[in-house]
Symmetry: C2
Subunit: 196 residues, 2 copies
DNA sequence: CCAAAACGCTACGTACCGTATCGATCGGCG
DNA sequence: CGCCGATCGATACGGTACGTAGCGTTTTGG
């Protein structure tokens, strides 16, 4: 039988350890943020010795970075839809949903302060999250321009900030809900400026 | 001579103590951010006993928030200008400038994670910072509607999020510069949707 | 089966937290 | 002027978490 190719193979100890540490870190981050994250709690939660964690990551900042990278892997590309408006709504809806209904929102809340003082962390976030989303917006805009929907001089970077900024503003500061209507409302408020 | 009405009167001990603490906190915040702020460093820098600090603020987060609120209150008032567009640009420019050129940006970066998990802190921030700015936007919008510039059904809360969201997005995540042109670019990108 | 690698466990020294205690200092008030 | 309450400085303390070191134990792979 091809079981070993269908089910994940029994992981070796090193892999099990790493998975357990990252999983415990995710849980603790979503519960109380990076501020209250401690290596000793991660050790207790994961059933791993504290020293084992320090053998893999030099500090809890690098551990948080690993969790962030893990999240990025699960970010899905955007489906091609009927019109730039709907495509942008779908893209933004994905972000709103991820931040509002998964622990990614809590993790982001916990990590954001670290991004300010940790250059490695902020660089990784910009390269693997921000750049990714700017790229998606760029693809959508390009198609919108070709279809004659959007203005050829559309500023992709600015549009990206106008779309995602309010989402994170709610998550971090204003405390507003990340509900299903938010994405469409933001897109419909911003897009007319860039429409032909 | 009217010296006592020109120069500040000699403050009593309580006032001197509080000023020294807040000043030392400001200095330390601007040097290394909230992340590396410790009560014991504030005590050493200000020449005040650690216990004296704890008699006034229950934690270093409340201390940092006190400094933040101090800044916000000296920034918010908006001049009445010629047209909603210019008034909004002025308002947003004030925020951009404060976040970009003073320690307020650093303080915000350090506090934002705590805002997610500390209810007292987030409530205080929403009441004393967010609500203040929403109110300013509301005043401007009201005048804009009366002058026939803006649509009567303008969503003030949404407009506020669309304006300030991208600013904080740069500060927290994208790492973009908080330059002088940013405020006008955001306003000009968002406002057409709400213009008659 | 046996070395090498990875891990668990315990024990440090350091830093900072937040609190308690007590003597010293300041400030208003008779 | 002198007193008394309020405030402050100094010190000590228990507690948490950091990051490192030493050593015995388990797992892995040749």
């Amino acid at each position: 039988m091809a079981v070993s190719s269908v089910l994940p193979a029994a992981p070796d100890r090193a892999s099990r350890t790493e998975v357990a540490i990252l999983e415990a870190t995710r849980e603790l981050l979503s519960e109380s943020g990076v501020r209250h994250l401690t290596v000793e709690k991660v050790a207790a939660r994961s059933g791993v010795a504290k020293t084992t964690i320090y053998r893999r990551w030099r500090s809890k900042d690098e551990l948080a970075l690993a969790v962030l990278i893990d999240f990025v892997q699960s970010i899905v590309p955007v489906a091609r839809g009927e019109g730039a408006r709907n495509e942008l709504v779908a893209l933004l809806k994905g972000a709103v949903n991820a931040l509002g209904t998964t622990i990614m929102g809590r993790v982001m809340q916990g990590l954001v302060s670290e991004l300010a003082t940790n250059d490695d962390l902020s660089q990784a976030f910009r390269e693997r999250v921000v750049a990714l989303r700017v790229g998606e917006v760029r693809k959508i805009v390009q198609r919108g321009i070709e279809r004659g929907e959007l203005r050829p001089d559309t500023d992709v970077d600015l549009l990206h900030e106008l779309l995602f900024g309010p989402v994170y503003y709610r998550l971090f500061l204003s405390g507003g809900a990340l509900d299903r209507k938010l994405a469409a409302r933001i897109v419909d408020a911003v897009l007319p400026t860039f429409t032909v």
